[in-house]
Symmetry: C2
Subunit: 275 residues, 2 copies
């Protein structure tokens, strides 16, 4: 496991994850995609889409069942999320990026075997067709070839098990897995963009942004309930990413992608990139 | 326009189009994908999916309206076909091919700007979000790079206008456009696979297969009503493809892909590849 693998002569790569709440708002999404296009250097995008999947589930009469913030994915739900994430959202995002001059190419983890995943054990909770990628098995070579060929990959959060089955996968986890894998070749920064300013001391007060958090502090914030709910896996993924060699993880509002204002995750104060 | 561009020192490329009726039958599809994987040499796949789109339209309460065999594509229908073609069908096909060792990668025409298209004029029939690709604008360079990198592209019949809008496109036309564009670099054969033996003198008798047709014969068969309905655009696309430099077009049953038994389209008897 490469720890603190911040070799300065690597080319830099930005991996940007955009959450489903932004994806569901056309104006916010348009503005975000324009900023993403303006982000300099090599980059790739990972998108969620849970909000739109839940709306489509209602139209199709498919019951949405969540356990610990994760969607239970039976065969019908797998069809639904594949249609919405890999079909509607992914292709629209690609078409929108093409419009503004970004040569985007949409991918699921099945495409080019970019993200093989392991179906999650049915114990203790049977999530159904849900998988977790192994960063060691990400096809970094193909992704890197695309990027070096001036293509901007756009990933949806659908992976596959290599046995013919697609798997629903948490988009934060897809972004973390890609970042971990790509950090072997690139000086990689992972951006988690969503509809909050970052990690907030008071979730209702955008001014209460915590500018940086190291691992020890994150544990204390969890105990205090400041890091709670959906923020817990995001933070855990972030520190996993840093452990695996990702240079920096920033949790931020989608509108702040270019200013990079948000919460910076750091292994510890000593190993921070900024120091 | 290169005519009869059958340069023997080009590498060969098979472009295989599989129709929606086969796609809708899991066992037939499985068998077809296995044959496709066994097809030697460079290749790419184009798939339809109209049958599944019509079924999903019923579930979503979207009215299916067809004019001259073509789907009228309003905004709701565009969403539907993008979900079904680019999402569910395309990603499942890719996962199935990955399972059997074929390194497939699914694409719409928006991805990597592979197939830019022009939205069809609303006169005389307003088909809505429907487009026709221009073979001159197909991104043959990117597709070729993927193929040379041992990737098998799998195209759905969704393209884009470069102005941010996806477009529903006839899958036969997508296959023809790709074949025409790729024939500049490769000795290209186009296979139209569907659920009939080929062009039949008597549509109810598989034994009545017409083994080869040249352009003059095709016009006579149209007058006789032997080439009718959905076969007309398939035949027209085939001769357009040959005009543009495609070496051979074969219309055949999906089960006969490896034996290549079907109807061979030829510019004329004199220019046939087999002679």
């Amino acid at each position: 496991m490469p720890i603190n693998n911040k070799i300065r002569d690597k080319e830099s790569l930005s991996i940007v994850k955009i959450g489903g709440n932004i994806v569901d708002h056309p104006e916010a999404l348009k503005s975000f995609l324009s900023d993403f296009h303006r982000l300099e250097g090599r980059k790739l995008l990972v998108h969620g889409g849970g909000v739109m999947a839940s709306k489509m589930a209602v139209r199709l009469g498919i019951e949405t069942r969540m356990v610990q913030g994760r969607r239970i994915t039976d065969a019908e739900t797998l069809k639904l999320v594949t249609m919405v994430y890999a079909g509607w959202i992914n292709k629209n995002m690609v078409a929108s990026l093409q419009k503004i001059g970004c040569n985007a190419l949409g991918l699921s983890g099945a495409d080019g075997n970019t993200i093989p995943a392991l179906r999650r054990s049915p114990v203790p909770v049977d999530y159904g067709f849900v998988g977790d990628p192994d960063p060691e098995k990400v096809n970094a070579e193909l992704i890197s070839k695309l990027i070096e060929g001036k293509i901007t990959p756009v990933f949806c959060a659908i992976t596959h098990d290599g046995k013919g089955s697609l798997l629903n996968t948490n988009a934060d986890t897809v972004a973390y897995s890609l970042a971990a894998a790509m950090s072997r070749k690139y000086d990689t920064t992972l951006y988690y963009c969503f509809e909050k300013e970052g990690v907030l001391k008071d979730v209702s007060d955008p001014e209460s942004l915590i500018p940086s958090i190291n691992r020890e502090e994150s544990e204390a914030y969890k105990l205090q309930g400041i890091i709670a709910g959906g923020m817990i896996p995001k933070i855990d993924n972030s520190f996993h990413a840093i452990e695996q060699g990702v240079s920096e993880v920033i949790i931020l509002h989608a509108k702040n992608l270019l200013s990079k204002k948000g919460t910076v995750l750091r292994e510890s104060n000593r190993t921070s990139k900024k120091e």
